[in-house]
């Protein structure tokens, strides 16, 4: 049947052409789809880029840009070429491509990405950055805004996307400006960030630069992070502020004190507080975790989480600390079990010895079983030996 249809179509086609002498719209399925060499080359470039083979990736992206300058993917290939050149340390060529991008592809969707790249490469605050950043930030994101805001003049302006999508790419651009601002004048950047937070407590530009606040060494950094951690209605913002407090360059003891005070008032973010304490990496911080783990007034999940991070802290006294908590938790098999788990995760020979003792002496048979279970999961020779010794005793 298919053969007959093809034959009929083949016979009919010349008749249509001769009768009407017009352009013939050949059905698509009669033709094999043309191969898109530009796309294939671009995809090959992306594959190489993903494999960290930047030299070959550069060749492919350059080929697309040079051989197919009018192809719809040329701007995308150029963006990837810029990224690849940056990876290869060819900064000056990357910058010259960045500077030519808007002229070469005036209608490109990749202009914002390239502008972000420019700020990252030059580490310079654009002249209009402060004005742009001090503009009233957009309100919390609505599900899908439909009204387009008028387009002010370039450069570094808030523009709406032509594609009608709700994503405002300028936020990432503003974020890049804010980062550059932090690098050049952290105190001024904190003032701008504080201003923006007054308009929108969950301002995405500020929330995405908390790392810059933390590492800025500004005296205002810790108070600002603490303020967000204490009072932001946005859980993600609070958790992030708590984490970045731990990465602050300021006095570690002050950070631990602030985190401990938070743990007293804020039970919702306990996981974040425990993790942050573990990342401060001081004896005082691990001591604070032990205080949380021992506190019988605190919820068990919070205490259990603290136990885990004591084990992961890398402090020399962590095993002794865990053993002590075990001995003082005879009223809670749950906590004792979590101590065993935390001990096993350290994979220390001494931890195997402690687990062996628990496996033979804990008053609760289930705790003894858990000790044996975690010994079996330690995968160190000492744990195997301890298990063997336990079996011999029987």
């Amino acid at each position: 049947m298919k053969t007959i249809r093809i034959l009929l179509a083949t016979l009919a086609l010349p008749c249509v052409v001769s009768a009407q002498n017009v352009t013939v719209h050949v059905p698509r399925h009669f033709l094999t789809p043309p191969s898109d060499e530009a796309r294939e080359t671009f995809n090959a470039g992306q594959r190489l880029y993903d494999e960290d083979n930047f030299t070959e990736a550069e060749r492919k992206f350059r080929e697309v840009v040079q051989r197919f300058p009018r192809h719809p993917m040329a701007d995308r290939a150029d963006y990837y070429l810029i990224r690849t050149l940056t990876q290869l340390g060819k900064r000056s060529e990357a910058l010259s491509r960045v500077n030519a991008f808007a002229r070469t592809y005036p209608r490109s969707r990749w202009v914002t990405d390239v502008e972000e790249m420019k700020i990252r490469l030059t580490n310079q605050v654009p002249p209009a950055a402060e004005r742009v950043l001090l503009q009233v930030p957009p309100p919390p994101p609505a599900p899908r805004p439909i009204a387009a805001t008028p387009a002010p003049p370039r450069p570094f302006v808030i523009r709406q996307r032509r594609n009608g999508g709700a994503v405002d790419p300028e936020i990432t651009l503003q974020q890049e400006m804010m980062r550059a601002m932090f690098r050049s004048d952290a105190d001024r950047a904190i003032v701008i960030a504080t201003e923006r937070l007054k308009s929108n407590i969950a301002d995405p530009v500020v929330m995405s630069t908390l790392n810059m606040v933390a590492t800025s060494a500004s005296a205002q950094a810790l108070p600002m992070l603490l303020e967000i951690a204490k009072n932001s209605p946005n859980a993600k913002a609070r958790k992030d502020a708590i984490f970045w407090m731990s990465q602050s360059r300021l006095d570690k003891d002050a950070v631990v004190d602030s985190l401990l005070s938070l743990s007293l008032s804020n039970g919702d973010d306990s996981d974040s507080i425990n993790f942050a304490l573990s990342q401060v990496r001081t004896e005082k911080a691990v001591g604070a975790l032990a205080t949380i783990a021992r506190d019988k007034n605190k919820p068990e999940p919070m205490r259990e989480n603290a136990l885990f991070w004591i084990g992961q802290s890398g402090m020399p006294n962590r095993l002794a600390m865990l053993e002590d908590i075990y001995k003082n938790s005879m009223d809670s098999s749950q906590i004792r079990n979590q101590v065993l788990f935390a001990l096993s995760r350290t994979r220390e020979p001494q931890a195997a010895t402690i687990l062996g003792t628990v496996a033979s002496s804990d008053p609760d048979i289930d705790v003894r079983r858990q000790a044996a279970f975690w010994l079996g999961h330690m995968r160190i020779p000492e744990a195997t030996q301890t298990l063997e010794n336990l079996l011999r005793k029987k």
Binding site: V205, F275, A276, R345, Q370
Partner: protein, 253 residues
């Protein structure tokens, strides 16, 4: 005949055990036959190697989790397949075999077990829940990985005609791009996570700038790239695993 799904299922455990499959003639032959499986092997091995070079103290259960996720990846990538009639019949053979083994085991157990002293107690055993943070990542980065995994799963299912889904994916991609630099810095102590996030960033940019006119080709390319980089598996691998241990209770009276 080479079956990607079956082959990947077979090699997963060997990859996790860091065996050199190329040295095993059986596997080597199939790896030469199928470039996709060869890539899968290389990427998975790289991931495992990368993890082993960083002392992240990945737990036993985390490895089990990775193994499980690799399996899930195989299943996800395989998608719906047409089964040959013969294959369908063959599929039942292991089930019948397993059932037969079960019957045999129960029978032998009954014969071999003394009827006194050891009995299973029906009392529910206490459960203990353990949360293992295989890698030291802050809770917001963990959430970010979870959101990323979800977005990637959605993107893998998008068809170019799903205008709303496409718009949603673009919106989420834009939102994630805002946070990505901070997340990379937060994960700085875990290089494999940074690597995964870096690749993910370019996927997000491709998504955000996706042109509706060439959506069909672009989406197919993005999906292929997600698959080839094993991004869904990567995003899952670094999330904490939760294990519930229920000790089996016996009454040794």
């Amino acid at each position: 005949m080479h079956q990607c799904e079956e082959f990947r299922e077979r090699i997963t455990e060997h990859i996790i055990d860091r065996e050199d499959l190329a040295a095993t003639p059986e596997f080597h032959h199939e790896l030469l036959l199928c470039s996709a499986c060869s890539e899968f092997y290389a990427e998975s091995r790289e991931m495992i190697d990368a993890l082993s070079t960083v002392d992240l103290s990945i737990s036993e259960r985390q490895w089990d989790g990775i193994e499980h996720r690799l399996r899930m990846r195989i299943v996800n990538e395989a998608g719906p397949r047409r089964h040959h009639k013969a294959t369908r019949t063959l599929r039942w053979i292991p089930i019948f075999a397993a059932a037969a083994m079960l019957v045999l085991t129960i029978g032998l157990y009954r014969l071999a077990t003394p009827l006194v002293n050891t009995q299973r107690v029906a009392v529910p055993a206490p459960q203990t829940v353990y949360v293992d943070h295989g890698v030291p990542l802050d809770p917001v980065t963990v959430d970010f990985l979870e959101e990323s995994e979800l977005l990637l799963r959605n993107v893998m299912k998008i068809r170019p005609t799903d205008v709303d889904d496409l718009a949603d994916a673009k919106q989420v991609a834009g939102g994630q791009l805002v946070d990505i630099a901070q997340r990379k810095e937060a994960a700085a102590d875990v290089p494999p996570v940074v690597d995964a996030i870096e690749t993910y960033e370019t996927i997000l940019r491709d998504l955000r700038n996706l042109d509706e006119r060439s959506a069909a080709e672009d989406i197919a390319d993005i999906q292929s790239r997600i698959r080839k980089n094993g991004l869904i598996a990567n995003m899952k691998a670094f999330q904490p695993s939760v294990t519930t241990v229920t000790p089996v209770s016996f009454d040794f009276r």
